[in-house]
């Protein structure tokens, strides 16, 4: 148990360093504008929580709407990404589909700067009346996260001993059944990792959100950027917005952790 606490201490230190920006944001969000502009350690507590009020309902910052959009977009992206990538990965690895070029294509995708896709996507989605609808961002984000999912799933499937599937085939299972009953559960940790990362990346997307939305489907990230104005950066407001925007993904990651663990214990390959 003593050993355990040593690790806890070490990890806490590391986590603390990684969280410095967020801690800075939290600290800033609780100070008055006066204090923020005077110096780093001038402490004047903003008992009105002015910044949080602004972040939640100031002119042009419709937080509930942004929040809802972010949730819809991120969840939708996770679902669509897994739906698209998981079966395809199996096809690529086990069924030899597409040869080597499909994965390479996916990788080439990852190299291309997002800027390249911005205008074509805008034109495409305008043609289908999808501008300023969450679906546009779901598609765009799936497109971006697809490669990650494909690679992780492909790698994980490759690692799985084929004997299990062969045994299932001998027992008369079709490919579909094998996929659903055997491969899917065994991929627990990989699935969770992909799910969590896809959610987090979609949640934090900015570029596509700026171009493909205007007011109805704007997510939290774009909304927060509105606090960078030409009269100055509203440090307090934007800090509050950042703090608020972190809560949902944090809850999601915590919930997904359980799935990670569950997937592990139900899918462990024990002799």
């Amino acid at each position: 148990m003593k050993k355990g606490w040593g690790t806890t201490l070490l990890v806490t230190c590391v986590v603390f360093v990684f969280l410095i920006p967020l801690l800075g944001a939290f600290y800033t969000s609780l100070r008055t504008d006066e204090a923020i502009a005077s110096g780093p350690f001038v402490w004047e507590f903003d008992s009105n929580f002015e910044h949080y009020k602004n972040a939640l309902g100031a002119a042009g910052y419709d937080f509930p709407s942004f929040f809802r959009n972010s949730v819809v977009i991120s969840l939708g992206t996770v679902l669509l990404t897994i739906l698209v990538s998981f079966p395809a990965s199996y096809a690529i690895v086990r069924l030899g589909f597409g040869g080597p070029w499909l994965l390479r294509l996916a990788l080439a995708l990852r190299i291309t700067p997002a800027i390249f896709f911005v205008i074509p996507f805008y034109k495409l989605f305008t043609a289908y009346q999808l501008i300023d609808r969450p679906l546009a961002l779901i598609l765009a984000n799936t497109f971006i996260n697809m490669t990650l999912a494909l690679l992780v799933f492909s790698g994980a499937i490759k690692e799985m001993p084929i004997e299990i599937e062969e045994a299932a085939a001998v027992d008369g299972a079709s490919i579909w059944m094998t996929l659903r009953r055997i491969v899917f559960p065994l991929l627990g940790p990989g699935m969770a990792a992909v799910g969590v990362l896809t959610f987090l990346f979609s949640w934090s997307d900015y570029l596509f959100a700026v171009v493909l939305t205007s007011s109805e489907a704007t997510p939290v990230t774009v909304g927060a950027a509105n606090f960078v104005t030409s009269y100055g950066v509203r440090w307090g407001d934007i800090s509050a917005a950042v703090c608020l925007s972190v809560l949902p993904p944090l809850l999601f990651a915590t919930a997904a952790q359980k799935f990670l663990v569950k997937g592990l214990s139900s899918g462990a390959v024990k002799g």
Binding site: G60, R68, I119, A225, N226, G232
Partner: protein
């Protein structure tokens, strides 16, 4: 069992997503969509929009909807939209320095009364003689300085002279009237208030230099160039690889290399300059007029901020106007024109000003000096010292190119001699 549960979850989640994803947009009788910047401009405009929608708008049959895009991304997004000949927005947010780039995508505006506006502002929005956008806020530059510090110079004349000699190699006496400063005065004062040379200085640095590779910083540097008698072009040819051009570059270079400003200022722009002043760590800065609202109300130094024109002679403060223009591809030309006609009136802009905007109408500004003292300076400087480059459609690009070429010299990595020729080449490339 788990698979079944997750299948149900999957289906319901997908349906929810699809359902929300294809929600129909609310419809209204001719809605006109207008893009604007968030912050004081957006807040103020919202009041004008609300007032219009509930009265005149009803008569016109128009409802205006304002869309706020973040300051940094508004123009990038508009560029993408214009490229795609989009009709998503009816009215674009634009500015004097961009109207050249945007002109092909904006309809000509008819019936704008020039006499209502600051001359510099309304003219800066004309392209080939046609009014392409309607002025909203006017922006120009002030030299902000610490009144308490500058007035204390006379008592320390000897020290001032010796520091000026050490740092700048010149014989100078204190000048406590910043309105009459030239750049030697400014630099010597900055040196006096830099702790490196004067350990008793209340401020750590004398100057807050925005030296980041950012096109808006070029606009500020232009003031130095013009104050010293220089210009981008002379007789249509690039003019930076000249004594005046290099002298202007040297001013910034001196400030940085002599340590009159923080070494971090190689990454500074608007917000950081303000922070330096409000935290009491800088004695002066060339900065945008909009900063006055923050500088005069926050921080320990809020009562000590004075305003002066940029040092030098002649027309030497950059002036530009933020503006709105009519999208050529908008499907609501008539409705949008009605709204814009309303915006081009004094009463509408009065509402704008009362709500915090800084309209380009001298009549309104004069009446509001009590609320914001800097309004008086805006009227005076725009008329007396205002100046703007008219360099054609790629003016915006030139600002960006100069920032890229000159910023190494601003922050001491290179000398003016190293970059002046490249600066001219960059301008030449963008002259069409």
């Amino acid at each position: 069992m788990r698979v079944k549960k997750s299948a149900i979850a999957l289906v319901s989640a997908l349906s929810l997503v699809v359902g929300l994803a294809v929600l129909p947009n609310a419809n209204a009788a001719t809605t006109v969509k207008m893009v604007l910047w968030p912050g004081p401009e957006g807040d103020a405009m919202q009041k004008v929009v609300d007032a219009y929608n509930s009265s005149q708008g009803k008569k016109d049959g128009v409802t205006v909807k304002m869309i706020l895009l973040s300051r940094d991304n508004t123009f990038a997004k508009e560029a993408a939209l214009m490229k795609a000949k989009s009709s998503e927005y009816d009215i674009y947010f634009t500015a004097s320095y961009l109207v050249g780039q945007h002109a092909p995508y904006l309809s000509d505006l008819k019936g704008v009364k020039d006499s209502l506006y600051l001359k510099a502002s309304v003219n800066s929005l004309k392209v080939a003689g046609k009014q392409k956008a309607l002025p909203l806020d006017t922006s120009l530059h002030f030299m902000y300085y610490r009144k308490d510090l500058v007035s204390s110079l006379t008592a320390n004349a000897a020290k001032y002279t010796s520091i000026a000699k050490t740092v700048l190699g010149k014989d100078l006496k204190p000048n406590t009237d910043p309105a009459t400063w030239n750049w030697d005065d400014a630099l010597a004062t900055a040196a006096f208030f830099t702790q490196k040379y004067n350990p008793e200085s209340p401020t750590k640095y004398g100057y807050a230099l925005p030296a980041k590779n950012l096109l808006y910083n070029t606009m500020i540097w232009n003031d130095v160039l013009w104050g010293l008698g220089g210009n981008w072009l002379k007789n249509g040819k690039p003019n930076l690889n000249t004594p005046s051009g290099k002298a202007a570059i040297d001013v910034y270079n001196t400030i940085y290399t002599k340590g009159l400003t923080s070494p971090d200022s190689s990454q500074w722009e608007y917000a950081e300059t303000n922070a330096a002043l409000t935290s009491g760590n800088a004695a002066m800065a060339l900065q945008w007029n909009a900063a006055y609202s923050e500088l005069s109300t926050t921080g320990s130094t809020k009562d000590q901020i004075g305003i002066a024109p940029p040092p030098g002679k002649g027309g030497r403060t950059h002036v530009h106007a933020l503006a709105v223009g009519l999208n050529k591809f908008s499907k609501n030309q008539a409705a949008s024109a009605k709204w814009m006609a309303h915006l081009a009136t004094v009463p509408a802009m009065k509402t704008y000003a009362t709500a915090g905007g800084v309209p380009s109408m001298p009549e309104i500004l004069k009446g509001m000096v009590a609320t914001n003292a800097s309004f008086a300076n805006i009227i005076e400087y725009a008329g007396k010292y205002g100046y703007s480059e008219s360099a054609g459609p790629r003016e915006f690009d030139i600002y960006a190119a100069l920032a890229e070429v000159l910023s190494p010299a601003w922050s001491g990595q290179k000398t003016s001699g190293d970059v002046a020729a490249a600066a001219d080449a960059a301008i030449q490339k963008l002259l069409k």
